[in-house]
């Protein structure tokens, strides 16, 4: 395709901007963009769980333990796993006879006793039930997998790498941790290459089906090795 001239680019951009409907039911902001992206990554984690789960064990459940939900509710901002303010959705699966739950945006207590939230986390169902019963966030050794999800129009800044490494230092026993993004960064990739740091999964988005598939397979492999 020949490179468009500046006037042609302006015309294309105007065409797009003029067609945007501003009549939305909610406000898009940084939090909602990241939460929506995390929900998409949750779908990929679910696909990975389906690959390794015991037969017919994967299902969706919700905070109020209602019949199989027709509406799946995700958190726009982090909250307690035991919260029933809304009928928050999560996934359940069994691997090697043990039950696990996959949650979106729930908080855990770090080894410093500070509360931290993870965009996606996997926790043994027994520990999740204990958290619900005691109405207390699960502790630092409870999650088996944690994911931070970042949706950006530009490259990831190194501060994002620093933040997830700092976060992980409060959860040293968690075997699976990843920073997942539609974007990329050579510096963050280098920074996270060191042993025991979260892994970077970059270019994860629907326009990149090969990367999506690689991500799902890599997760499934990690589940087999670490759950």
């Amino acid at each position: 395709m020949p490179t468009p001239s500046l006037p042609q680019l302006k015309a294309l951009i105007d065409e797009v901007l003029n067609a945007i409907s501003t009549d939305t039911g909610a406000y898009l902001n940084r939090n909602t963009a990241d939460a929506a992206y995390a929900a998409y990554v949750f779908g990929l984690a679910l696909r990975a769980a389906e690959r390794v789960a015991d037969p017919n064990s994967v299902r969706l459940d919700s905070a109020k333990k209602s019949p199989p939900p027709k509406t799946f509710v995700i958190r726009g901002s982090p909250g307690a796993l035991h919260s029933t303010d809304q009928d928050y959705g999560y996934a359940v699966f069994k691997y090697d006879g043990r039950n696990y739950e996959i949650h979106l945006g729930v908080q855990y207590r770090g080894s410093s006793d500070v509360l931290h939230e993870f965009d996606i986390s996997i926790i043994p169902a027994q520990d999740a039930d204990e958290s619900r019963k005691k109405k207390r966030p699960p502790g630092p050794s409870k999650p088996c997998a944690v994911f931070e999800c970042k949706f950006y129009a530009h490259r990831l800044g190194i501060e994002i790498g620093r933040a997830i490494v700092g976060l992980k230092s409060d959860f040293t026993g968690v075997p699976i941790s990843r920073l997942v993004s539609n974007s990329e960064s050579d510096s963050v990739a280098l920074f996270l290459k060191k042993t025991n740091r979260p892994k970077l999964s970059k270019h994860i988005e629907p326009g990149n089906p090969d990367m999506e598939t690689e991500f799902v397979y890599a997760l499934a492999d990690e589940f087999r090795n670490s759950l």
Partner: protein, 155 residues
């Protein structure tokens, strides 16, 4: 707008976005953040400074082509990629788990009056909607342009 300035095109887009309500405001802030982030200078020689290749060794103001790419990337990210992630999720949950709707909770002040009481909105209610074929074709052409620029930057 003069035809010969990329900076003027960016100013034009900023002015257009300011007329697009809260959504335009968000896209504008993302555009400003992306421009302010600048362009990373990547170390290509492994031995330089005793550091590994691939590291960022500084930032600079984008040149014209890079600035155009920044502009297109913002539009593409929020008008194409993010909506695609939502469509992928909702289709998957519908096809595999019979989920009829995916909703997100938010502070009521961030929701429209119609859904304020429930404290949540359909996940696609957050996203800009572009239905006109002509605009979708324009987005595809912008995407192709952004791909060209990305290809050039990798060379």
């Amino acid at each position: 707008m003069p035809d010969d300035s990329v900076r003027d095109l960016v100013r034009h887009v900023r002015a257009q976005l300011q007329r697009k309500g809260s959504l335009g405001g968000f896209l504008l802030s993302e555009l400003d953040n992306s421009i302010a982030q600048g362009v990373e200078e990547i170390l290509t020689d492994s031995d330089l400074f005793g550091s590994k290749a691939g590291q960022v060794i500084g930032r600079r103001i984008p040149n014209d082509l890079e600035l155009l790419a920044v502009l297109v990337n913002v539009l593409e990210a929020y008008l194409v990629v993010l909506p695609a992630t939502i469509r992928t999720l909702t289709a998957y949950l519908h096809d595999h788990y019979r989920i009829e709707s995916v909703e997100m909770t938010l502070d009521p002040s961030l929701l429209s009056a119609a859904v304020e009481e429930t404290g949540r909105a359909q996940i696609d209610a957050f996203l800009p909607v572009i239905k006109e074929e002509k605009a979708i074709r324009a987005l595809k052409k912008l995407h192709a342009f952004a791909e060209q620029v990305r290809g050039r930057n990798k060379e």
